[in-house]
């Protein structure tokens, strides 16, 4: 319970991000949690740019998304 695999943090790049969106078939509320998990696995963290973009696309506030992300042990922001 104390050990977690830590992925290497990569820099945000827009092309990879857009491919991720294409893979899940667009960001919507129903697959947001899965999408964020994929972002975490790809970049090793959830970059600020992604939070901003997701907030714009879903209508959630950035604060709410950060609030959720920081409560999970496997998300890094």
């Amino acid at each position: 319970m104390y050990f977690r695999w830590v992925e290497k943090v990569k820099k945000f790049d827009i092309q990879t991000y857009q491919n991720l969106i294409k893979d899940v078939g667009g960001i919507n509320v129903e697959n947001l949690f899965v999408f964020m998990g994929k972002v975490q696995e790809t970049f090793g963290c959830v970059p600020r740019e992604v939070v901003r973009d997701v907030a714009m696309k879903t209508g959630f506030s950035e604060a709410r998304i950060y609030g959720a992300l920081t409560s999970y042990r496997d998300f890094k922001v």
Partner: protein
């Protein structure tokens, strides 16, 4: 006593995700039959089979489905709960790895019965290989026309999303699971409304354990009568028991409900305790269940008998502790885990678990005072009574029962210091 392989009969017999072998071994027959007889009859059969949830709370599955199926309009959801974070429980992994098609069939039948088009399977993030397998399985199922628009040539469409949990024990609780899918902080909520009324995105939602859903295709293909012949009158069928702790051979065993006593099960399948010393205590339903000791180990392996003996069957994760271990040590280990995993939403659990941990640590470290036990008891009781979710109501139970069954351990730890 012997194993009755009903759910696990195909485990190890084929290499998932291979649909052909599964179909050759009688797979997908239940789904075809369900599509033939219609959703009402499916729910009726599940009700007649008397299937209860295998995830811990033991809520009857048929009535739960009927509640959600009663809602005619709008989107409905079905979630398969494979989070399985409970201490000493690892039965779902056997089914998810060994016979994933059976679980998928259960999910599809469930979704068809309640009229849900979108389903999720929420898998524990530590089961990396299981998640990989399920991602492959979904692709395979889409290709074979089992999943997606028009399953098996019918007009029903069901979609499955594999979700990887993000490492919190509390997400095994149904409302915390729903909160996390809604991209909120994972925490329990006050009930009612139950998820069957207002669940995911405020829509009716069914949340079922993996083992519960794996029972569904078996009931439909074997027939209700054959299924009810197994087990006892009130609790038909089989159950997967996980055996761990101080036993020589731990593992998952599928047993007919009520086929033997708890002590027989530990001695025959676990081959006795590790050091050969007698059993001190047993937790029959995972880390949050009360201890059983002495005479009460002779109870039958049914939910009712274990309840009467003074504990609960919960997730059927049997944890054995042998003689020579102090109850203070056992409780300390459990408190460490639950202290780490409390979500912090409601005060009794958030503050109570820390205070309980402090007191137990104090006693264990040899600085206990005589009024500590009374304080521990009071905090536990308060926590059981006023917590919001199942975790807060359940984690003090082992502490309370340890104080009841082994007061001498605690007193000895306190007295050693004062002397």
């Amino acid at each position: 006593m012997k194993e009755t392989k009903l759910l696990t009969r195909r485990v190890g017999k084929y290499e998932p995700p291979d649909l052909k072998v599964y179909e050759a071994q009688g797979g997908l027959a239940a789904l075809r039959r369900a599509l033939e007889i219609g959703p009402e009859s499916v729910i009726e059969e599940i009700k007649r089979a008397g299937l209860v949830g295998r995830g811990g709370a033991g809520f009857p599955t048929g009535p739960k489905w009927a509640m959600v199926a009663g809602e005619k309009e709008g989107q409905k959801y079905l979630i398969c709960n494979a989070e399985e974070g409970e201490v000493g429980t690892f039965k779902d992994k056997v089914l998810l790895d060994g016979d994933p098609w059976l679980v998928l069939e259960g999910i599809l039948i469930g979704a068809y019965a309640v009229g849900a088009e979108k389903t999720y399977i929420y898998i524990n993030g530590e089961y990396e290989q299981t998640i990989e397998l399920w991602n492959k399985l979904v692709i395979e199922a889409r290709k074979a026309g089992v999943l997606g628009d028009g399953i098996l040539g019918s007009k029903i469409s069901v979609d499955l999303q594999v979700v990887k949990s993000k490492g919190l024990y509390i997400t095994g609780e149904e409302f915390a699971l729903i909160s996390s899918l809604e991209m909120r902080r994972a925490a329990g909520r006050l009930k009612p409304p139950y998820p069957t009324e207002k669940g995911l995105f405020e829509r009716p939602t069914v949340v079922n354990n993996v083992e519960t859903l794996a029972n569904v295709p078996v009931i439909l293909s074997e027939g209700v009568e054959a299924y009810c012949n197994l087990g006892v009158a009130d609790e038909p069928g089989t159950r997967l028991f996980c055996l761990s702790g101080d036993v020589k051979k731990s593992g998952v065993y599928e047993l007919e409900i009520g086929s033997g006593t708890l002590e027989e099960f530990i001695n025959e399948f676990g081959r006795g305790t590790t050091s050969g010393r007698p059993i001190k205590a047993v937790q029959p339903g995972g880390g949050t269940s009360r201890f059983l000791a002495g005479e009460s180990l002779n109870c039958k392996l049914t939910a009712q008998a274990i309840r009467e003996a003074g504990s609960g069957i919960g997730t059927a994760g049997v944890i054995v502790y042998e003689e020579g271990k102090s109850a203070v040590e056992i409780v300390k280990g459990l408190m460490e885990f639950y202290g780490f995993e409390s979500c912090g939403r409601c005060a009794p659990c958030r503050i109570g678990v820390v205070r309980m941990k402090e007191i137990v640590d104090k006693i264990f470290g040899g600085e206990g005072a005589s009024d500590d036990l009374e304080q521990l008891r009071q905090i536990s009781k308060a926590c059981v009574e006023v917590s919001t979710c199942g975790m807060g109501q359940a984690f003090p139970l082992p502490v309370l029962s340890a104080l009841e069954l082994f007061p001498q351990d605690f007193e000895a730890a306190i007295e050693k210091v004062s002397a």
